[in-house]
Subunit: 248 residues, 4 copies
């Protein structure tokens, strides 16, 4: 029933998926600032478009690559899975991460192209403050807790709706508007629009996200206990292709 | 369990469904411009109404006609299915496309009537720029990738929510607000309101949508590989009537 | 597995459900007008609150009474079901309709009480124009087509989400903001707030809704053909209590 | 298949879940007031973020602790369940309630920290009026009716979406914006931001919520009748860990 999709195809999916995700985030941000003067309305549009887009991407591409689109998720899958044989291998990580970063940059460029913005212009939007970094820690920890907690509870099939909804909430309840993704953070440095982040602000954001990764993995252990020995325990579906099964 | 609905009834469903879709898009656009001065709020209302309406139409009418409501979808179903015996026949295409176009025009007229606007007045809203055409290529490619990728992954039952959510995102992340549908594009030329498009802008939009169709079919092949030989591979459910089965 | 709930309890459910529905519509309208000057934002809040509330009410109360909350739905169930033995009986109709109307009035009074408005004050909001009546015909026909079409297609379990989404779209794409319910229309005459309707405007609205009922039933017949002889054909679940089964 | 999670872990989940819930409510309120001047837009953002966040928390943490996050829910589970052996024991209540209250306070502090607000500052937002108390009675009664009615109807698996949607509606249709939760009410006294409540207003809000609890339990009995003797009757899943089963 399950059959491993070739790594090349999975990497292509991670590239396209992360690209599409950033195109949605950046593109909807540009559209929103063109249409409204109210920043609240702008972020409503930006966050709702991301909820819709991210949910669709996970539902569509999850069966092929696991729909990580995020180095934090790939690394957490390796971390929580490497005691057994379930997480990605180092070779897979070495293929996924560059695809995610390249995809994120490509997505920012595509969004700029669609809106007749300069294809690449470094963002001038400084996001540098300790409370923003705390926001990133919280946002990333929550994302990791959600993805791996759902898997631990046997509810991985909720992921498309749950992860999208989580990001929709995190746009608002974190001060940083929840980047929570190192690849996306890098990509968003390439566009000087609503969703951009100044290159100088990228590094601490990524560092905070890695701290959040550690906190999230710890929270999974505390709240969900030791994994049962069941087949459902696969942390994130990846590297497997379920042509006609899946979450029903 | 499956029983072909007569072509006449399927064509009536395509007519009514496309008509309702355009009535939702055009009508909610008129309502939004009457109630708010903030164009961001207007597009929020317009896009959310479309998400709700399109999801309902696919859930309701999909079991009868496949709920294409879009020549691009019908043509892609033919293209990806014609090597086997699964796609629509040329005779079916010749019946579906006119029904979709006539329905789209009817829907615009109905919306105008409900809001006491002139029943037919050519739109004066020029949408003519290369970045808008790129937006249409992206929007249509994504739509085709979504519909046929879901089918390839055995998740066609996600279509009502996924396609509606996709359009909700694409309203915002594409510069063109994602027409992505030649029939709807033609219909929207008949109303000089928020959602209208000047007749002179229609042709390049449709051309861009056809380019997007090609790109989308190519993406399906690259990202999902060759189809398995399973029964689930039917690309889009069409021409079959599942009175009491369906997506559960 | 199915066991008829007593008529008295079903009638209580129709009363409470219709009351809650009107309290949501009227209450969220009052809240919205208190908080925003932008009528577009007001209707966004009003329509989203209704989507959330109506979906919950159908999911919760559908298993007991069928969650009609609307004389049009009860009458359509009788009409489409009375050739067989599936629709409600005349005695059941005679119990449901007054409960719906009384519930609607009670809901308007409750909303007024929660917001410290006069408990009963006739609405001064005239809604009198032929294009509004056309809006009501369309809104009601669509509602009937949706509910009974889903049942015909074996997808009655989609009703909570689908009906709520439909109303969310219809708030925007119809000029009348889609009352589509004679009981709710009467109830909304009792409050002089955002969602109110002047008593003098009620009668033509109700008449238009009855025309929509006829159009909707005709559309079901045209688009879905003759019903199959299957058990799934029960038009609207009513009068049956499924304690632990239902739509999964 | 079901295996009791240790009480300590369940209590940790109640603490974290309630904390996250309040962080979402308070944090999104702060973000919204920073970005928009339109209070309607602010409450739209606040309510949508809560819908997304609450639904995710129930879906993720329900399998471990029952995802009460609310003393009213814990008490209602005890009340409706204590005739049999299904509700929580007094010892469990004595562990859950303090965890919920402490979590709520922690969540308010965390939100303040993320937005560089003073970690603790008593709210100056007086919410003192009889019509607000009526709002709390209605909001809490509806919440109890929903949770325990769904369980009675065998639809407890709808809870994540249904409860979240209910709160999304109740933000708008009740005058009090639906606190409906004594722990959250206490927590929100610790932050002088959009979602705060002056300490002096807390007591009558909590009293109204307890009245709502009684009304809600009575409504369940009236509308859903006596419980069947089925296993599905567990009122709220709690104290049980379903690693790979759950609501599918």
């Amino acid at each position: 029933m399950t059959e491993m999709a070739p790594l090349g195809r999975r990497v292509a999916v991670e590239f396209v998926g992360t690209s599409a995700l950033v195109a949605v985030v950046v593109g909807s941000g540009i559209q929103a600032t063109k249409l409204s003067q109210d920043v609240g309305v702008q972020l409503l549009a930006n966050s709702l478009a991301t909820v819709f887009g991210l949910g669709v991407l996970i539902a569509l591409l999850g069966p092929v690559s696991g729909a990580h689109f995020n180095p934090v998720v790939t690394l957490a899958a390796w971390w929580t899975g490497h005691s057994g044989s379930e997480g990605p291998t180092l070779r897979e990580i070495a293929a996924y991460l560059p695809a995610q970063i390249a995809g994120a940059i490509g997505g920012a460029v595509l969004a700029d192209a669609m809106f007749a913005e300069p294809l690449v212009r470094w963002s001038t939007h400084a996001r540098w403050a300790s409370h923003l970094w705390l926001g990133e820690v919280v946002a990333t920890a929550g994302l990791v807790l959600l993805i791996f907690g759902l898997a631990r509870a046997g509810r991985a099939h909720f992921a498309p709706v749950a992860v999208a909804s989580y990001i929709g909430a995190a746009y608002w309840f974190t001060s940083s508007t929840s980047f929570a993704n190192p690849a996306v953070t890098i990509g968003r440095a390439f566009t000087d629009t609503f969703a951009g982040i100044a290159p100088g602000s990228v590094l601490p954001f990524v560092a905070a996200q890695l701290v959040g990764l550690v906190v999230g993995v710890a929270l999974v252990a505390v709240l969900f206990g030791r994994p049962a020995a069941a087949a459902e325990d696969v942390v994130v579906p990846h590297g497997e292709y379920h042509p006609a099964t899946a979450d029903r």
